[in-house]
Symmetry: C2
Subunit: 370 residues, 2 copies
């Protein structure tokens, strides 16, 4: 007997298949009418992306393009879109999920009676997938294409997936390796007040060791650097299902700031999916430029390189940083001081400092950046 | 009451502390005798590394250098070695493990009454750690310094670490995220005939989904690309504890070949630790150049770039490849064909092809490269 969860999954899969079938039927209809088949898709260029101040999200505008079979410049992409759509329908119906590169190879040479490659590389197939996602307004994961995984979760939460339950507080020193497909993850139970999103996996290890998750009643998630798409989707799902706020703990440098902004507002490449990825009620605990003086970390900063300064100047122009007094101040202060500060620099105080003093003090006192 | 495992751990920790104390006592003794304190360390340069044909391992030769306090060129490194040794003793005694970068920050500015940085970056502190490891003939992990983690395990094995047991066949679509410190991992029980070491994490995901581990009675481990040190150590520990052979499944290109050789023979940088990392009874299932014709994959190869050809030529000179007719043939064949082949190219047959046909056929038929 299907569980409630399986029924929801099935329903979502059916919806996806329905959208794909409608997509195909429309094109077939046009062909029957002897028209040139075509489908619309939102333009995913910077010119059509705005920062929605009210929603606090990067969003796609209304501008549409059309991909027409009988336009020589479009024919190849048109064929590719139909190929990908048809393959995704197959993936869903066979209950399989595929990686982006697997999709590429699976379709690379699939035109009968032709020696031509249907795709030259996975950038080409990935672009078509992005377009299809935007055109059908359906998440890649719902088409059974996995996102890049790389990252883990630790803490008082029992999850269920693919028929097994597991307690993420009982995994030794490691955590649960977040897979590239998390649409079917179910929460069996949990005990936590917030989700701490940690940039660095060695910092994650420190917080696991110090039992920070236990003493501070939180879930730890790391994406090992820039959070990959799969981890962001997983954080978003937890954020929605558990109704818990997300707190970001990253390096005090332009890259850490950017990681945070992608988590909170979405990214330019995925602006058409911001509502399904971005976590608007995310806040920033550290590292900040003020931490350097507050916690006397002057000796463990790293000097900015030219490339860092260039990145700061770029970020000062990003609407979401520009609109915030606090963030503008941080970025300017970083340039002024000429240094950046890593999470792990807190180890200069003592190994346990981050878990026993820094984070509890800042989180309990709600000393956040917006 | 301490478990048997805890007692073993304790004993290993005591041995490490004893070695560190002897190291300190020796230096103190020399100072008391008003001699310049010094310690010997094996030279870790290419000139002192050989490929041991009998043991099938990269090994360090007998050449020794001495690090002397009263040699101006050595003084700084001498001071750093003592600092690191002393910190490691503290880590062991407090039951903590640290990451490489955490170690750097923890010690960066720890000289009282000095504004000088004791280390300029983690390459400096990492080098000192490598030296200490070679000098004391003790594994970094035994000094409680974690290796880089990144990778996961899946399959019929129940592990125990840090007071919790977990079944690695009941973790949904994800696996157990292998932590950077695995010296204290205990095997509660397992059911497997071999360990399959998989290069690509998307391939890992495919094999989990197809239940390859279940149907073929094996454990799946991935290092997500080049296996990091922590994952190699973990594979070695499993290899020893479970007495299971390791089979490598990587891309058919010079990088895949190299990943395999590091797994099997050790690496040049860690030649002093080959016996604790390398898995001599490792074999290679694929991808091979012969697979391209055997499985008709001509259409899904990728053309070699100049940098690939350069790498092939380098590998043809490596003693462990040079000594093997089979490997020399593979490398030459690759140059001849001018192509490489990725694991995921098998998806061009069908998604399940790798799990239902390719791997079972080759593994059951023992179609391995040495």
């Amino acid at each position: 007997m299907a569980t409630k969860k399986e029924k929801i999954e099935e329903k979502l899969d059916k919806e996806s298949v329905k959208k794909l079938e409608e997509f195909g039927a429309e094109l077939a209809g046009e062909i029957k009418k002897e028209e040139s088949p075509a489908f619309p898709l939102p333009i995913r260029a910077k010119s059509n992306i705005t920062f929605d101040e009210a929603k606090k999200l990067l969003v796609l505008g209304e501008k549409l393009a059309h991909r027409r079979f009988l336009n020589v410049a479009h024919t190849r992409k048109f064929m590719q879109s139909v190929l990908v759509a048809s393959a995704c329908k197959e993936y869903i119906e066979s209950g399989r999920t595929v990686g982006k590169r697997e999709l590429y190879y699976n379709l690379k040479h699939s035109l009968p009676n032709s020696k031509d490659n249907t795709f030259e590389d996975d950038i080409e197939s990935g672009g078509v997938l992005d377009d299809l996602e935007a055109s059908l307004d359906i998440l890649r994961e719902r088409l059974h294409v996995e996102a890049k995984s790389r990252g883990s979760i630790y803490g008082n939460i029992t999850l269920s997936q693919a028929g097994s339950d597991f307690d993420c507080s009982k995994l030794g020193r490691g955590g649960w390796a977040i897979p590239g497909f998390v649409e079917d993850v179910e929460v069996v139970n949990f005990k936590a007040d917030y989700i701490l999103a940690v940039e660095n996996d060695a910092m994650m290890s420190r917080l696991i060791q110090e039992k920070f998750w236990k003493e501070n009643n939180c879930l730890l998630v790391t994406g090992e650097g820039m959070f990959p798409r799969g981890v962001r989707r997983f954080i978003k799902i937890l954020n929605q299902k558990l109704k818990l706020p997300v707190i970001a703990f990253v390096d005090g440098d332009p890259y850490g700031f950017y990681i945070y902004s992608v988590l909170k507002y979405g990214s330019i490449e995925l602006a058409h999916l911001s509502d399904r990825y971005a976590v608007p009620n995310c806040s920033y605990v550290g590292m900040t430029m003020d931490d350097i003086d507050e916690y006397k970390l002057q000796n463990v900063t790293e000097r900015l390189k030219d490339v860092d300064v260039k990145r700061i100047n770029e970020e000062l122009e990003y609407p979401w940083f520009k609109a915030s007094k606090d963030w503008t101040r941080q970025l300017k202060l970083m340039k002024e001081k000429g240094v950046r500060i890593e999470q792990q620099a807190l180890a200069s105080k003592s190994l346990e400092f981050v878990a026993k003093k820094y984070l509890p003090e800042k989180i309990d006192g709600k000393k956040f950046l917006p």
